[in-house]
């Protein structure tokens, strides 16, 4: 009797949780489609507001960030557009539309994108890292880890297949090491490093966190910087070429 009651309670709880999830998902969909209609009517402000409401539901999706990015882009907010494209590409890094729009938006950054020439193997690794999302890298690492466990167990137990499964275990180990490296690189880039995008048309990076301090270099809308440390209304940032300076918090937006 007790067991039956417990089962019924569990079913009710699951159904309730499911309906809550479905409600939020539906609300996201509604705002998403409404945003699309506003965008088509060239009502960009309303479209941006609608997409933002969709995001406030606590759920997110790559197309939602992508569409919001498009709305920002058409509204002339290059920095915010790049942030949205980058967020979308974190979820689906291989989407050609996102890549294309991101590349186009970046090409419009005044003065071009500051970049450093790296050795070919680092460029190759960065390219491979860029192909996978953090979730996919995690899933691949876990799958390889489970496969490795199974292969080791079989190699230990079944002496007849020990040789084959030992070789297989070594191969899986190498792949696992690679996928874990990718995961670590991705984790560092997306979680540990605090990257930000300049959202003001032009902002001055100064030597000190003071309004009257000397300007070291100028950053333009859409440029990516790495946030190192906060200090009141100022953030210490590092540009991709390694130059560091202080910018106002309001001039950049964290990814």
């Amino acid at each position: 009797m007790k067991a039956r009651f417990a089962i019924i309670l569990c079913v009710i709880l699951f159904a309730f949780a499911g309906s809550l999830y479905a409600d939020k998902e539906n609300s996201l969909r509604e705002f998403f489609y409404h945003g699309n209609i506003c965008y088509s009517d060239n009502n960009l402000q309303e479209a941006i507001s609608s997409y933002k409401k969709a995001l406030s539901s606590g759920y997110e999706s790559s197309p939602l960030f992508y569409n919001l990015g498009n709305a920002y882009f058409k509204n002339g907010e290059l920095g915010n557009a790049i942030i949205c494209y980058l967020r979308a590409s974190r979820i689906t890094p291989n989407d050609p539309d996102i890549r294309s729009n991101l590349a186009h938006a970046r090409s419009l950054i005044e003065g071009g994108v500051v970049s450093l020439r790296r050795p070919w193997f680092i460029r190759f690794f960065v390219k491979v890292v860029g192909l996978l999302s953090l979730n996919r890298a995690t899933a691949i690492s876990i799958s390889l880890y489970l496969l490795l466990c199974i292969a080791v167990i079989i190699a230990v137990y079944l002496k007849r297949f020990r040789r084959i499964f030992t070789i297989l275990s070594i191969i899986i180990s190498v792949l696992l090491a690679a996928s874990v490296s990718i995961f670590c690189a991705k984790f560092k880039k997306e979680v540990i490093q605090k990257n930000a995008i300049v959202i003001k048309q032009e902002t001055h990076s100064k030597f000190e966190p003071l309004g009257n301090a000397t300007t070291f270099f100028t950053l333009y809308e859409g440029e990516m910087v790495q946030v190192i440390a906060p200090n009141g209304d100022w953030l210490k940032i590092k540009r991709l070429d390694g130059k560091q300076g202080w910018v106002k918090k309001s001039d950049i937006n964290l990814l």
């Binding site: 790559s62 569409n67 539309d97 979730n135 080791v152 167990i153 995961f183």
Partner: protein, 604 residues
Amino acid sequence: MVTYIKNNYIIKLFFLILCGIFLCTALSFAFTQDISFEATVDRNVSVVGTAIKLNLIFNGIQNIPAPNLPDIPDFNWRYLGPSTLMSMVNGRISSSVTHTYLLIPEKAGILEIPSLSIAFKGKTYSSKPIPLEIIPSSSSRAQDNGQQDKQERPKEELGDKLFLTINLSKDSAYVNEKIGASIKLYIHSLSLRDIAYPVIENDAFLVDSFSQPKQYQEILNGLAYNVIDFNTDIYGLYPGEFRLKPTELSCSVIKRRSPSDIFDNFFGQYEKYPIIIKSIGVPINILPLPEGGKPKSFDGAMGNFNFTLQVKPIDLQVGDPITLTMTISGTGNFNTVNPPKLSIASSFKTYEPETRQEARFKTFEQVIIPRNDKITHVPSISFSFFNTDTLTYKTITTAPVPIKVNPLQKGQELKVFEMSRDFADRIKRVETLGRDIVYLKGNPGSIRKKSGTLYKNKALLIMLFLPALVVILVIITQARKDYLASDIRYARRLAAPRKAKKNLINARGLLKSKETHKFYDAVFKALQEYIGDKFHLSTAGITSNVIDELRARDVDTRILDELKTCFDMCDRSRYAPSSIHEEEARSTLKMLENIINGMEKIKA
């Protein structure tokens, strides 16, 4: 010091000799040139009483004295002086002398400077007559024409000083026939800048690009003009009677500004006036090509051409490419020359020919590939054109070119490269692509919780330890198993208490069920197995005799006594089972337990 002065003197002398030789050579060149004579005026429109400059130019000579002019009716004249000119252009030295006279007209009207004849060294040189328009003085003209004349004069003056003419090589031509067009810009006493190429706008004609313009001097109506001659070819596109629209040419006239203040004397004295000069329209008749005698292979070529064919290689294997170089040379409209058609049916694989066009010839390089070894020659190729000189159609046919096509060797396959039409089109097409963002996505795709990343799922991370634990356990178990299999003594010793415990339980059960005989069998078996496993002895051979061996291994005597008693009791049960009571059996079981516990404390 003396040596230095001497050297310097020698160098100067050498330099003077060189200059002398150069001057002598130049003068000798000048004297050996042909002598020509021409007469020009600075303008051919003037007012009564206003002087006109008359220049008598002798080219190719500098030492001719000022000639005495004959009486020129209605003009007074005065000699002003000579001026000489010597120039060297592209290694050619030219010299000239100009004797200038002032001519003052005495009456208005259309007057003429007659042909002047000058005799020099037995030869007589004559100039052309120069017509002049002399208009009445300003006071009398004002009465006649009033203000109107003031407006017209500048136009007339510019009309004399700057104009554009167009001359066509023929006034009647066939469709696509080459018509030479010479557009001349005449400039007299004007400075021009930014001269553009002329523009001929007409839908019925195709205009070729202009060649490098020529520049020379020309005397026209007694005025010396600097002429810029632009040459091109035009082609009539449709039959009919047309009038070529006026040709336009844009340039800027540089004119001196009257100085308004002292600074204008130094700066900004000249102004640039952009103007467009137009020629007059030219009538031209474009005729259709005659239909009679038109050959089948005629493809619109117009001109007078020659056609040659070159075939390489002529000894080859099936599938190897042959290059046909078809050269069409001569004069005419090369734009109308298309590649001659090949009638080689299916025996060859053909590709699009590559075209190269120069001023005097057009070459088509066509690759063909023989498909079989039965081909013996490249068939004859015909090229037809309309000969614009003889106004007839002409066909040139090449002779068949013998070739040797060797069969493929064993194991070889015929491979003919095929370029897809689509790919070829793509190569040809060059597009300029626009750039913008890609449009919105139609659906929200896969929705996930914000920051719903896998690595944050604690349950998943904890679960990940389980497979690792299983692997560790499996490895340890297997390692132990392998070790036990390799050390039997250790394995038996390890198994001894477990087996003894099992046997004890069995014996206890038999005692409970009062099966005394079986009980003692079980006790005996338990002792045998335990002692055998514990001390790695043969189980079957263990009897009471084992006590001596155990004593040697320092087993406690109390345990050995109990062991002996146990073995004795087991023997009694076999030979006199009725003499054993239940109490004794219990005591035996107790002893067995003591023996096992006691022996467990001993290291084997």
